[in-house]
């Protein structure tokens, strides 16, 4: 028991590794495999051709069967390596397959057909990434539209969020006026009202305002975030009032003080909120699903969801689409990892 406790508490470092260190690394490596492995597996699978995807057991890397052009045959023929019988060790091309027998030819001597039992041969494979899965998304499906819907909603909602939340935070941190503290508390209280419990009435309000089937129906209800107001207010409280006073001496208007002085100084907090907002809007699912009924207005997560319902056999496109959906988030995370984790640890929200 004591040893277990040492494993969990010790913050030793220098010196030799003892078994608690080994156990820690083992845990972390296994954990990392479990966390990242499935994502890597998804990305690798998305590059497989439909025939590669139904291969069982699956291969790690995307592969395809090698095909060669043989004189007198119009189309390239698939290559096999013969494992048993007279021709063992040879690499032959398949002309046709009848029952359990295949008619094959040697690509170097295509005149003499050779009959081989089909279980006496293995496919000759080579690495091949099926980029078509991605290319076809744009041509065969309305993928560009979904991508655009997601990008539009995420960008516009984030910009409006930054504007409205920072205006509110400015007043709540730099002004004294009757009702200021109740307003702040009221905004914080909305943290306790999860969107799931006001789903039905919000749908009514969106319908009355003509926001259903409309990207603005996803944007407006979500732009006033209590988290954002709180984050920005706390940050703006640390900005010295002298700066504002100096600007007032120069006859700057309050609006100008807000956007010329306070906003530029609040960049770090605005950046954290921008990252949060992009993540929230890009990944949002339930509310868009309720408010966006027609498929033309779908965002990427909605399109993915309806795809997986309809096209269970077309995993190659579904996988490619999933990867496209996770790439922006992954890139942002890779670049801004430290800011994101610090922001979340300090705000206690996600």
């Amino acid at each position: 028991m004591d040893r277990l406790a040492r494993l969990l508490t010790a913050t030793r470092g220098r010196g030799r590794m003892d078994w608690t260190d080994w156990a820690s690394y083992l845990y972390l490596v296994l954990g990392t495999l479990l966390m990242l492995g499935p994502v890597v597996w998804l990305a690798l699978s998305s590059l497989k051709s439909p025939s590669g995807l139904i291969e069982f057991p699956p291969t790690l890397l995307p592969q395809e069967q090698v095909r060669v052009a043989v004189p007198t045959y119009p189309a390239p023929l698939p290559l096999y390596r013969i494992t048993e019988g007279d021709h063992a060790g040879q690499t032959l091309a398949e002309v046709r397959k009848i029952g359990l027998q295949a008619t094959m030819v040697d690509p170097a001597a295509p005149e003499t057909p050779i009959r081989v039992p089909i279980d006496a041969r293995t496919k000759v494979m080579r690495l091949h990434a099926a980029w078509d899965n991605y290319g076809d998304l744009l041509q065969k499906f309305d993928f560009g539209r979904y991508l655009w819907n997601s990008v539009f909603i995420t960008t516009v909602a984030t910009l409006i969020t930054l504007l409205l939340n920072s205006m509110a935070a400015f007043a709540l941190s730099k002004y004294r006026f009757a009702g200021r503290d109740p307003v702040f508390l009221l905004m914080l209280a909305t943290l306790m009202i999860p969107p799931t419990i006001i789903l039905v009435p919000n749908y009514l309000i969106a319908a009355v305002l003509g926001l259903t089937d409309n990207p603005w129906g996803v944007i407006w209800p979500a732009v006033a975030t209590p988290t954002g107001v709180f984050l920005l207010r706390q940050y703006m409280l640390t900005l010295p009032d002298d700066l504002l006073e100096a600007a007032r001496m120069d006859n700057a208007s309050e609006w100008r003080i807000y956007w010329r002085i306070v906003l530029p100084l609040s960049k770090p907090a605005l950046a954290v909120l921008a990252i949060f907002s992009v993540m929230w809007r890009w990944n949002e699912f339930l509310w868009p699903m309720v408010v966006l009924g027609r498929s033309e207005s779908f965002t990427l997560p909605l399109a993915l969801n309806s795809f997986q319902g309809e096209l269970t056999t077309q995993w190659n496109y579904l996988l490619a689409m999933t990867v496209v959906t996770l790439v922006p988030v992954t890139v942002i995370f890779a670049l801004l990892q430290r800011h994101i984790t610090q922001g979340i640890a300090s705000a206690g929200v996600k």
């Binding site: 028991m1 002004y175 006033a224 996770l326």
Partner: protein, 333 residues
């Protein structure tokens, strides 16, 4: 070169847009009595809250008291507490089949099971991970990022990643066959589908809670540990007497946040299992969604009534959280 031109252009655009309200705001500044200007800044944000958060709560109560399938409140007949009564009408609450709204009670009991298992396991794993990450580890930033990464993924993406792993010809079954076992239809049996919804939701969210606990661990002053080392206190006692008590406020935050989120589980599960097989993984929010939006007959009143019952549970959890946060604040002095 291109970068500077772009940033200059962005700066001009920013200035041009932000200059637009200058005249009206200056006018308002001159004409409003002192101190009222603050309302102009707070106003837009507050208006959005009013329309999309406060108003809906009131409408929610009205909906819960009306029946029919019409969306417009004026067209809905008042039925009083009938929606609540039908949700709560049960011969035996532990036997959903004996209830008028059996789906609701399946959802309730599924959610209770899910929350108990998911929160307990997630807390345990987050705590162990945070403790391990708090050690002097080479590549700590990388490991922390790896555990955190799934938190950022869209729930739909999370569900599809695991659906792909778990499908009949998937990589997990390949490993099973490789080990000489039979392949399993993971999402087609009630027990294993339930288990996987628990697993996948832990996979997707534990990084967030690990981060909170890690921040809590790093806030424990090092000199306390040094003093314990001077006294040659055994590690188990150090853990029980120092680490655990000082980490308790963070554990409480994680526990309550985890509970609040787990009660509202929907997105991942909806895509992963669709609530099935049968209703084995239908949880409370999915019941609300199905009742109000995906069923042929859209029973908004019933959905609203179920939402309010859910809101009651969440309110209790939030009050516990507030008490816990007060305790946390006072323990920090």
């Amino acid at each position: 070169m291109i970068g500077t031109i772009a940033s200059q252009a962005a700066g001009r655009l920013y200035a041009a847009v932000m200059n637009l309200p200058e005249r009206p705001m200056r006018w308002a500044q001159g004409h409003l009595p002192d101190g009222r200007l603050g309302w102009l800044f707070v106003g837009p944000n507050l208006a959005i809250f009013a329309v999309f958060t406060f108003l809906p709560i009131i409408v929610d109560f009205y909906y819960a008291g009306t029946g029919g399938t019409n969306l417009l409140p004026t067209e809905r007949p008042w039925v009083g507490l009938e929606n609540f009564a039908s949700l709560l009408a049960c011969k035996d609450y532990f036997e959903p089949n004996s209830c008028v709204r059996d789906q609701f009670w399946y959802a309730i009991w599924n959610t209770v099971k899910f929350v108990a298992l998911q929160v307990a396991l997630m807390l345990a794993f987050s705590l162990v991970t945070a403790l391990v990450l708090n050690r002097k580890i080479i590549g700590r930033g990388f490991f922390r990022a790896a555990f955190f990464y799934p938190v950022l993924l869209s729930p739909v993406v999370v569900a599809l990643i695991w659906k792909w792993v778990l499908q009949r010809d998937g990589v997990l079954n390949a490993a099973f066959v490789g080990a000489g076992l039979q392949p399993v239809e993971w999402l087609l049996s009630a027990r294993s589908a339930f288990g996987w919804t628990v697993f996948v939701s832990i996979w997707a969210h534990m990084g967030f809670y690990t981060l909170i606990l890690l921040a809590g661990l790093q806030a424990i002053p090092a000199d306390i540990y040094e003093a314990a080392a001077m006294d040659a206190a055994p590690p188990l006692r150090v853990f029980r007497r120092i680490t655990l008590p000082l980490l308790m406020p963070s554990v409480l935050v994680v526990l309550v946040l985890g509970l609040i989120r787990a009660v509202q589980i929907f997105d991942e599960v909806y895509v992963l299992t669709g609530g099935g097989p049968g209703s084995a993984t239908t949880y409370l929010v999915e019941f609300i969604y199905n009742t109000g939006f995906s069923a042929q007959v859209r029973q908004y009143g019933l959905a609203a009534a179920a939402s309010l019952l859910l809101a009651g549970v969440l309110l209790v959890l939030t009050l516990i959280q507030l008490r816990g946060m007060r305790a946390k604040g006072s323990s920090r002095g």
